[in-house]
Point group: C2
């Protein structure tokens, strides 16, 4: 396959017998210099004849800004797209971006070079603005850019130096408290938690704190030995649950901080000859599509991720276009989905 | 938040006391006209002082092509990203694109205007090439573009006027035959199939043909009344299975053409008081992450989708850069994952 070549202004100039500068003035509709109607028409005729299309690059130079919106994924995981979170964000985002005549670029960074890339994309006008997942490196990445007033929307409530930044978050801590309170309300006193996240991840500690505070505020004792770390995979939930089953006295309920780990935990409980929820109640988090159909159906927490992407995209475009914005920091609520695995249904 | 403005060549010209044309010549390193070293240095100093960054748009004009790769999703579904297929493709694609210093744009089209958009993106140089999912509209979309020799890689073996187009496909028909043969080998004679796809979708008919041919080639009878349509949702698999349970004689095995429908089918069988696999064996397709952990674990077919995205990205970049390519049409194989739900494990 040969490489497609563009009709250039140089070719048009040659064909029309005028200078390239003049072609450029005509095609950009410039009024800076006087051009005779005849010459103007000749250039336009030749351009049409040769099949000239204004290059996007040239058009964005003329219009002064790019039509690209960047989704910046700040995450060390190669498998970032296998988690349903990012696909859900893209679903919401791409819907808004498309209907507003922008395009979506997806940029995945995981080191300092990545930060420089984003800075350059914004500074050079490659993207008009970015929506950014907000993990460990958020301050390093977004801090300087927000200070320089580039259009950025974060996908989490920002803190510290980022506190005033535009954001669309989901109140996961409230979701965790709600799930934990529900388990407590069913009469459980020994409740395990299978958390996920790397030790560097500040959100890991906040998630655990939300769980622990709910336990202690209910007058129960939070026990470290009922806490496990499982990352995102069902395999890890399975192993975490196996190890929890060795603790005496055994827990009567387990909260898996994502559905895949909760799924692995259920499997480990059944493989040990125990029943869910009769022997051990299980609650997950995410409401993935399988949650309602596994056996027993998984009680879990639904987070409005598609809506989050949609609202963030809308906010970013409003910022780029200088439209009025009613609320620069939005926080969305989660919803407890009651099913059989917790024993309440 | 104010809109960030760029330092323009005009500002540099004003500050350095030279013409804008001269600034442009200096910054683009042009040798077309003689510029004194003093003047050249003054322009560069002023540009540096003002924080000028060459615009991406300007750079891509100079270099003659874009650094953007487009992933074009031709699909009528709003929920295209909720299917794990596209996220898997993006995972593979973004990995290659990133390491080759390109950027990934995601464009989602579902009508004739969308086709025009893609054409314009290529023609205007907004993207250097595209990887395209290959559903109903493939011929209309890709046909003219491939004829015009734009760099395109299709994610399915092309047929008809597209037959010579570069492609990276997965041999799903072989996967379907393999799963069906496996069910037959376990001694089943009444085998249901829950298919998905719209009636317009030519692939739906090919998938059913692959199933039917395998049945008849084994000397069994294909019966229309054991065929159901379930789309992508577990809910539809559940309803399809409920209706299959009403047929007499009852089937002894069911092949769900994706895992989510197979999951719904299992649930319907259990809810009817029957056992999987003892009363009805179930086989799925996809090997989604839950498949191994549900109860019973789902026998299914794994398709190398991440690898497909990776190879397609590599092929597209090679085409764009005129690198030699050993194989312009690649077909990847699927793998049967034997677990408990079919009764063989």
């Amino acid at each position: 396959m040969k490489k497609r070549t563009f009709v250039t202004q140089k070719q048009i100039a040659k064909e029309a017998g005028v200078s390239q500068t003049l072609v450029s003035f005509v095609l950009n509709g410039s009024t800076e210099i006087a051009i005779s109607d005849d010459t103007r028409q000749r250039v336009l005729d030749v351009a049409k004849e040769l099949g000239y299309v204004p290059q996007a690059a040239a058009k964005s130079l003329v219009h002064g800004r790019s039509n690209n919106i960047g989704l910046v994924l700040v995450n060390p995981h190669y498998q970032v797209f296998r988690d349903p979170y990012i696909p859900n964000i893209i679903t919401g985002l791409s819907n808004v971006v498309r209907s507003s005549d922008y395009r979506l670029m997806v940029e995945h960074i995981n080191d300092y070079n990545g930060i420089m890339t984003i800075r350059h994309m914004l500074k050079s006008g490659e993207v008009a603005g970015i929506v950014m997942t907000n993990f460990q490196m958020a301050e390093q990445v977004a801090g300087p850019l927000i200070k320089e007033e580039y259009p950025i929307v974060l996908l989490e409530k920002p803190e510290g130096i980022l506190a005033p930044a535009p954001s669309v978050g989901i109140d996961h801590f409230s979701g965790i408290r709600c799930a934990t309170q529900h388990i407590i309300s069913l009469g459980h006193e020994r409740i395990a938690c299978i958390a996920y996240g790397t030790p560097r991840d500040v959100h890991l500690h906040k998630r655990i704190k939300a769980f622990r505070d709910t336990i202690t505020q209910a007058g129960l004792t939070f026990e470290d030995r009922y806490l496990r770390f499982g990352h995102y995979e069902p395999e890890r939930g399975y192993l975490a649950m196996q190890s929890l089953l060795e603790e005496t006295p055994r827990v009567t309920a387990v909260f898996g901080m994502n559905d895949l780990m909760a799924l692995g935990a259920i499997r480990a409980i059944l493989d040990a000859g125990l029943r869910v929820p009769e022997d051990i109640a299980v609650v997950g988090y995410d409401d993935m599509r399988f949650a309602e159909f596994i056996n027993p159906a998984l009680t879990t927490v639904r987070a409005p991720e598609v809506e989050q992407g949609q609202i963030a995209g809308k906010m970013l475009i409003d910022i780029i276009e200088n439209n009025p914005i009613s609320e620069l920091q939005v926080m969305l609520e989660t919803q407890l989905m009651l099913r059989a695995s917790c024993g309440a249904a």
